[in-house]
Symmetry: C2
Subunit: 340 residues, 2 copies
């Protein structure tokens, strides 16, 4: 039996190279060894974008294009839209009875995000309870393995707390605890060296970046500000060009040679950057071409999304029945004895 | 066009005479002049009974028996089970984005109930957000008129706040504000004079009480503790027997005469109580008989419940589509242009 994975993204924009290195690459491999559910988390994205539904709506399609372009295979992975699974809302409602309000207030991820977004006094109830909605996502799809970054560990902890509470309240073992799968690769920095990568900051490359965009972003990339003359030795640590080469250049020996040369002196930033441009172009070109081709047939893309969503809905319904059986609230109005 | 009413009960026990005077009587009349939806609020009842699902489940049937027995007519009123309407959970989820957590914390009804139930530190998220779930109930069924007691006014205020916020965020008028319909009759006290009436306190009569039960409860009924000898004058104010006669005796002149006689002196408590017993028996006997007859055919009762629930589900789906259209999140995966 293959283990079940639940993973996904909020559709708030096109995916970028950071997503590729941090999760997409992993999913392309895991879809062979695992039963993979990939959720486009539009309902969750609405909790802090409720006033921009059109942004979320149009990015569902963009994210689906990205998935298909990089090689997430809809015959191996079930790709679906969160809001189209009504069972998730129902399970969230029942899970809200399994967690105290005090506990939600002290969720470290939520606290940090509230601070970052300056929403401390005005935080909506929807945003406060989103960890419960995530627990429902994981539980409904029986996610056994959840790929996460270190900052998302509290999500798994919260989920497993709810799972244990549920199983104890209803004397059942219908829900299973989830295991986090910590991402091994460090988070890819923006081209300017900042941790946050975003298209609007001009420090990110989407998965369909043109060679011209690659050139522009790499040209401005942060290297070693003390490395002024070609013949001077340069620093590799904190040099974003090398961070990207580590992540994208398939020829590890060549990267090692370049590092040695740079540290000795005699390797100019522009020569190095030209190399990175070509490495990135080699990575992105097939995605760009796939994406272009898929865009020619949007209906086929939506059909694949609908197929995955139908499959997920069926699975969600099956699991919700099981869960409601365990809660003894699965009334069958056609059968009186089940109402007693 | 008849105005739409939404009303209902939490299925936590059989209904009693307090329910009859406070709401059921009203519903029997309103079902002719209004389009009435009567909700058996099991999902809401689970927010503070989540660990006793069997209590909620079995009382759905009891409450339905009560409704039919007193004369709520399923061909005029749509009687349905809340948890069977998945659209309610979905709308609750989206409504949670329309209200701040701070606002929920300060809801007077919730605050009072939290104090009464001693759940201040341990209050669940489910209980905290139940006013949002009520707002979804009202909005999904387009409730224009909501019968409430004075202590429930904050529910209508919270609902209308959410409705206004929703309409303003999504530039729509798809949701309408609800009007409270304040109950004119004061709350019926328990037989012991206490405000809270409950079967477990032995101070309430269910709608199917036997004459023996009526006798027992009325015998212990609180009158005027200073009225020791028949010939002494007695007090009418605060005398529960008279409160019940005001509520149940159809012959108003006779009640007036009894009050005068009691105040003059010469009317004994037992004579008075015998009269009330007969008045209550006249009221309850047809309910008791109807209920007994209905219980012989439980499948018919469930069928009526299923019919109403199907009708409500259809109405809920229609309204949810309208609401999601207004939110611009009503994706049609079979039509690409709607995804842009």
């Amino acid at each position: 039996m293959k283990k079940r994975i639940l993973t996904g993204d909020r559709p708030t924009g096109q995916l970028h190279l950071g997503h590729y290195v941090g999760s997409l690459k992993n999913r392309i491999e895991m879809q062979h060894s695992h039963e993979q559910f990939v959720m486009i988390a539009d309902a969750q994205a609405l909790t802090d974008n409720y006033d921009h539904p059109e942004k979320i709506r149009s990015n569902i399609f963009e994210v689906m294009l990205d998935y298909l372009a990089v090689g997430i295979d809809p015959s191996k992975s079930t790709i679906f839209i969160q809001s189209q699974i009504p069972q998730l809302f129902e399970l969230t409602f029942y899970f809200l009875n399994m967690v105290t309000y005090n506990r939600l207030k002290h969720n470290p991820t939520v606290k940090m995000e509230m601070q970052q977004k300056g929403m401390e006094e005005t935080v909506t109830a929807g945003f406060m309870i989103y960890p419960v909605s995530q627990a429902a996502d994981i539980a409904l799809f029986g996610g056994e393995v959840i790929p996460v970054g270190a900052d998302q560990m509290p999500i798994i902890e919260q989920t497993n707390e709810i799972v244990r509470r549920f199983n104890s309240v209803y004397h059942t073992d219908v829900l299973k605890e989830a295991q986090p799968l910590l991402s091994l690769c460090p988070r890819l920095p923006g081209a300017d060296g900042k941790a946050k990568m975003s298209k609007s900051l001009g420090n990110a490359l989407t998965l369909s970046a043109s060679f011209k965009e690659i050139e522009e972003v790499v040209k401005k990339m942060y290297t070693d500000p003390a490395h002024l003359r070609v013949e001077d030795p340069g620093r590799v640590e904190g040099n974003v060009v090398f961070t990207y080469l580590d992540a994208f250049d398939p020829d590890l020996n060549r990267v090692k040679e370049l590092k040695d040369h740079y540290q000795r002196g005699g390797l100019g930033d522009m020569t190095l950057k030209r190399h990175l441009m070509q490495v990135l172009e080699n990575c992105v070109a097939p995605f760009r071409e796939n994406r272009e081709r898929l865009k020619q047939n949007p209906q086929m893309v939506l059909d694949l999304l609908q197929e995955g969503t139908s499959r997920a809905k069926k699975e969600g319904q099956r699991k919700l029945e099981e869960i409601k059986d365990a809660m003894r609230i699965n009334y069958r109005l056609d059968h009186f004895s089940t109402m007693r």
